[in-house]
Amino acid sequence: MIVAKRKPLGEIVEMLAPYQKITVIGCRSCVAICLAGGEKEVKMLVSALKIKNRKEGRKQQIDGFVVERQCEKEWVKEVEERILDSDVTLSMACSLGAQTIGDMYPKHLTFPGLNTGMFGVPEEQGVWSEKCIGCGNCIIHTTGGICPIARCAKSMLNGPCGGSANGKCEVNLEVDCAWVAIYDRLKLQNRLDLIENFTPAKDWSTSHSGGRRIYVREDAKLSQHQKKGKEAVQ
């Protein structure tokens, strides 16, 4: 899932300072589950802002609620009035949600309340770790199911590098070396021969380096005819 973290309160206060009417909108999916932007976090932020305003003698009208998935127009549309009725919307979804609102209402101001971080996995309650960067061409069947692009600091394809020591990564001694993990896993699977294979440089065009990516599924798209029909119904 997408894992995000709330921005520090001071930064949010500064961002919102010039405005009177503020709407805070969370999302009930990924960011709720990673405890960053669900209903509880929205309510807590609204209370924190109100307390801070009262202490510092600022007057703002702040309101907060959540939508099912902020990255989908249909869900956002349901709360359109509440968005447009404010001076600024603070999105507590990931940046996809914030940009969906921004794209739908380009004149309206939509600010991010979270820092969107990574595709992560909850390792235990309250701990998330990055395991994929969305490079667009998955290779983990050759690396024991462990992604070296996301989990190795240098995204090495033929590891480990010379800095790997005692199972830890030279870039950050608190982090496990991905290539040691790959070696151990391949050994467990009796496929250690794979580590000898030389992997040539990766084609990064499927990744972000090729520019903004757009995926299309032709068979799922609505035809012009269908679209017209829907518009007519609405």
Partner: protein
């Protein structure tokens, strides 16, 4: 139907009026919305004074009450029972502690006390109007088994006591020792899993190679203390050290003891400092004094890091010192050591003289015993808290000395913290009696203040499932969280952490808490 509130002001004999003006509290109450009756009583904890209060409830057909008295635990069970009989749902009775929370801390500032009491009364009245009647449910226990973990001193005492009271006992013993205790004894067996709740627990027991399941109504943890061998560097040099209780037994039965005798305070003096064990000191002092009496010619040394001889033990210490027993204190820089090449000599730096001593000994005994490392596993399996020193934590030293926070799970002896034989035996008996009384009820009561999921809002994030210490929440067939109310203890942890605010604790909902807080602080926020 309109809410009808009864307000009761308890004087706590004379304690409360000595600081608070009860007439003005009474006036405030009677002028508040929905208050139908205000009564002042001398002591609500006195059963005789309950009758007029309950008659008032019945006569005026009141449906809820706000009682200003002392700590909940002191008054609540009897009081709530009386209200229940008078027709008031016990969850509609709001108790306000004006003794410990108002009168005692503000004894010298009556004005502040009065203002605080008034604010608390207003808040309780506001909350009272928001309360909902709740029901409790019952479930039959499917077994009468009392399972006892550990067959040491405490475990055996627990088994005997529970059996005497008619319970069916199953004793799990880690070793292969044979025992004369009533009921079933499973040797070489340990607890490895537990599902369910007190009354209907499903245990997983590893017995030898096999894992068996066993139904239990109640459980007694009697795992005893930890190491009974020397640890650390001393262990390499001294092969025949004895725990203090063994030395004590030898003294009692007049077994030959090879002098000189040295008692060190811990089986691993160079290890982490352990919590000081008073019992170990009492037992050390008594043992060495007795030994000296029986064998005046034997040279005796007590080597310790910190000693606390409490109360009358001080006299025993004096007796020991007068009899010529030598007490040597060491600190972390000079812990006792022995050299394998030179066995029979303990070298330690005397802290008070700063001098290195080499003490020749014939017998080395060690006093305190650390907590049993098995406690951690058992606490994890049963999801009960541990104390900082590695023992199992009990409910409350005054009120629930052999209970854990989980209903139906009891604890005794050195599993709590190391203690003497007599104390362990007494606790074992208490735990056995508690367990059999629990089982005798035959039914489990649950419900009332429990968590409830508003499924519409649930994101199935599993946070509550991971958080609940009692494994009450689970993701049900609808793909949303549900609460197993038999297991829910109403602790509210899931409520606080649910990211979608999908869970509320009955009668502690956000609205109920907010209205109380707002009234208390007199603010609009």
């Amino acid at each position: 139907m309109k809410a009808k509130i009864q307000v009761v002001l308890c004087k706590c004999c004379t304690e409360i009026p000595s600081v608070l003006r009860l007439e003005s509290l009474s006036k405030l109450a009677s002028e508040s919305n929905n208050v139908m009756s205000v009564m002042t009583v001398d002591a609500i904890c006195d059963g005789k004074q309950l009758a007029p209060v309950m008659n008032d409830v019945k006569q005026k057909e009141l449906d809820r009450a706000v009682v200003l008295a002392c700590h909940k635990k002191d008054v609540s069970p009897t009081l709530l029972r009386a209200y229940r009989r008078a027709g008031v749902n016990e969850f509609m009775v709001e108790l306000v502690n004006i003794r410990e929370e108002v009168v005692l801390p503000h004894a010298n500032e009556p004005e502040r006390a009065q203002a605080k009491a008034e604010a608390k009364l207003r808040a309780a009245l506001a909350r009272s109007l928001m309360l909902q009647p709740l029901e409790r449910q019952t479930e039959e226990m499917k077994t009468r088994n009392v399972v006892i973990i550990g067959a040491g001193v405490a475990g055996q005492a627990a088994a005997k006591e529970a059996a005497k009271a008619g319970a069916h006992t199953v004793v799990l013993e880690k070793s292969g020792k044979t025992l004369k205790v009533p009921g079933v004894v499973m040797q070489h067996s340990t607890l490895v899993g537990a599902e369910g709740y007190g009354g209907n627990l499903k245990l997983k027991i590893r017995a030898g190679e096999k894992v068996e399941s066993l139904d239990a109504a109640a459980l007694v943890i009697a795992t005893g203390g930890g190491w009974t061998q020397l640890k650390g560097s001393l262990a390499k040099a001294v092969k025949d050290a004895v725990p203090l209780y063994k030395l004590n037994e030898q003294v009692q039965v007049d077994a030959p003891i090879k002098g000189p005798v040295v008692v060190v305070d811990s089986p691993d003096p160079s290890g982490k400092t352990m919590a000081v064990q008073d019992f170990a000191w009492d037992e050390t002092l008594e043992t060495v004094v007795e030994l000296k009496k029986k064998h005046p010619e034997t040279e005796i040394w007590v080597v310790f890091q910190e000693m606390r001889a409490f109360g009358l033990s001080e006299l025993v210490y004096k007796e020991a010192a007068d009899a010529g027993i030598k007490f040597i204190r060491y600190d972390k820089g000079g812990v006792p050591k022995a050299d394998p090449k030179n066995p029979g000599v303990l070298s330690v730096r005397d802290f008070s003289q700063g001098e290195q001593l080499n003490i020749r000994f014939g017998t080395l005994a060690f006093a305190s015993i650390p907590a049993n490392p098995d406690n951690r596993l058992i606490a994890e399996v049963l999801r009960i808290p541990m104390a900082a020193d590695g023992g199992i934590r009990r409910g409350s030293i005054q009120r629930w000395p052999v209970s854990t926070p989980r209903p139906g799970v009891f604890v005794c002896g050195s599993a709590l913290f190391p203690k003497s034989r007599e104390a362990a035996e007494a606790e074992g008996e208490a735990a056995g009696a508690m367990a059999s009384a629990f089982v005798k009820r035959g039914t489990i009561e649950f419900g009332g203040v429990v968590a409830e999921v508003e499924q519409e809002k649930c994101s199935a994030c599993l946070t509550c499932v991971r958080t609940c210490p009692y494994e009450a929440p689970f993701i049900g067939a609808a793909g949303k969280a549900e609460i197993r109310i038999q297991a829910c203890q109403g602790c509210g942890m899931c409520v606080g952490i649910c990211p979608s605010k999908a869970i509320e604790l009955r009668n502690y909902t956000d609205d109920q808490i907010m209205i109380e807080t707002r009234t208390l602080l007199g603010g609009d926020f």
